[in-house]
């Protein structure tokens, strides 16, 4: 069976086509297409809902056409249409869901509304083959430490205020770094040239983390520190990454200790960061464990993860009736009944 997946909860618009060949056990999974178009605001700015929604509306039809051409798929080949129900930004989510609904009604297909976080987790599991890892989901919009138990992805810990990616992205604005390809990517590159570590607020509260304090501190003090010549922009990027990533490694380790897991799966856009992967790997190795991560095709928001999570739900008989295909900015990861796992 073949699923079309549509994703647009933030500034990345993704369309994916995935095939599950049900004649094998387990089914053979093939990615037929996975394309994305990203909205980049000018340096120093963040992406606003209205502009982001407009970007998605402008590009989605072309992306769907390209995906179907690349996968050599016609409407009759598609078994189910999956879209991001939430969490995320309202206007962008609804713009994409509107297209999903229209296609479903025209082509007479079922719809599956997918939780964005579960999409990341399921694609991470599929690509890496990690058995039962502690999942660190880190992006511009989300920061959660997750572990699977009894049909739910349980949130062990999370950011109490802003996501780690949001903290990084907003600091990139202070430095006027380009948003292309992503502010976090540009911070990562600049951080590689940093040598001096600035002591920054470090806030871990049990299983949870908090980033608004370190962001306020570095936003407030950066201009003076840079002007004084004591620290370079590279030093500040380096210091911020080391601090926030250490916080994430600490809480991930705590979760591993709690459930006795030896696997960490890092998903979400911030999961592309090589320094984070390296730090996590150092911790995991000390515990005889292993880190799983994917490349930018899958850790950055994409349509294929929505198709994957959607098709797994669909295979258990789950569909979303049309009247329930509204979108929601808040959608907890543990609200999803993970029927497809033991």
């Amino acid at each position: 069976m073949i699923a079309l997946g549509l994703e647009g909860s933030a500034n990345k618009l993704g369309v994916g086509l995935i095939r599950h060949d049900m004649t094998t056990t387990p089914p053979t999974v093939t990615i037929l297409a996975n394309i994305r178009h990203t909205y980049h605001p000018p340096p120093g700015e963040g992406f606003l809902p209205k502009d982001t929604a407009q970007h998605h509306r402008s590009h989605i039809l072309q992306l769907v056409k390209e995906a179907m051409a690349e996968g050599q798929i016609t409407p009759k080949d598609i078994s189910v249409i999956c879209f991001t129900k939430g969490p995320g930004m309202g206007g962008p989510l609804t713009s994409v869901a509107t297209v999903a609904r229209t296609l479903a009604l025209m082509w007479n297909k079922e719809l599956v509304g997918v939780n964005h976080c579960v999409g990341h987790i399921e694609m991470g599991r599929q690509i890496t083959g990690a058995e039962n890892p502690v999942v660190l989901y880190v992006s511009g919009g989300n920061t959660q430490v997750i572990a699977y138990a009894e049909k739910r992805y349980r949130i062990f810990g999370e950011a109490l205020d802003i996501a780690v990616g949001n903290c990084l992205d907003r600091f990139a604005r202070v430095l006027n770094l380009p948003n292309d390809p992503a502010p976090g990517y540009n911070i990562e590159q600049l951080a590689k040239k940093g040598t001096k570590l600035l002591d920054l607020p470090y806030t871990v509260k049990g299983m949870d983390v908090s980033f608004s304090g370190v962001l306020t501190y570095i936003e407030t003090n950066a201009p003076a520190l840079l002007a004084s010549g004591e620290y370079t922009a590279a030093d500040l990027c380096f210091s911020l990454q080391e601090t926030v990533f250490a916080m994430l490694v600490e809480t991930t380790e705590r979760a591993m200790a709690h459930i006795g897991s030896r696997e960490v799966l890092i998903v979400g856009g911030v999961g592309c960061n090589k320094r984070l992967q390296e730090m996590m790997d150092q911790m995991a190795s000390q515990r005889d464990g292993k880190v799983f991560a994917t490349d930018e095709r899958f850790c950055i928001d994409n349509g294929i993860m929505i198709a994957q999570a959607g098709i797994l739900a669909y295979q258990t008989g789950y569909t979303t009736p049309l009247e329930k295909t509204w979108c929601t900015q808040r959608f907890r990861t543990d609200e999803v009944f993970v029927a497809w796992r033991e």
Partner: protein, 91 residues
Amino acid sequence: MATAALHERLTLQIPLPSPRLAKIAADVLDVDKDLKPEVSRRLISTQDNMLILDFQTSTLKLLRTVVNSSLEMVQMVVSTMASFDTESEEP
């Protein structure tokens, strides 16, 4: 508590190529419910191939806002139909 009287009204009649497509458009749009029904309401219906949107709001500003965002979604539905409708391709 008395609700605000929804004085401001606007009706849009949008012709679609067929009653089938008008019905699909109506069904797609009607999934998204009014965020604040006490001050802004949208009623969606069809008549043959006409998609009818009835707006009732308490202020002109709200009327402009809801009409604008609705038209953005109507445009999305209509362009999706123009690009991907298969039924019209069948002989």
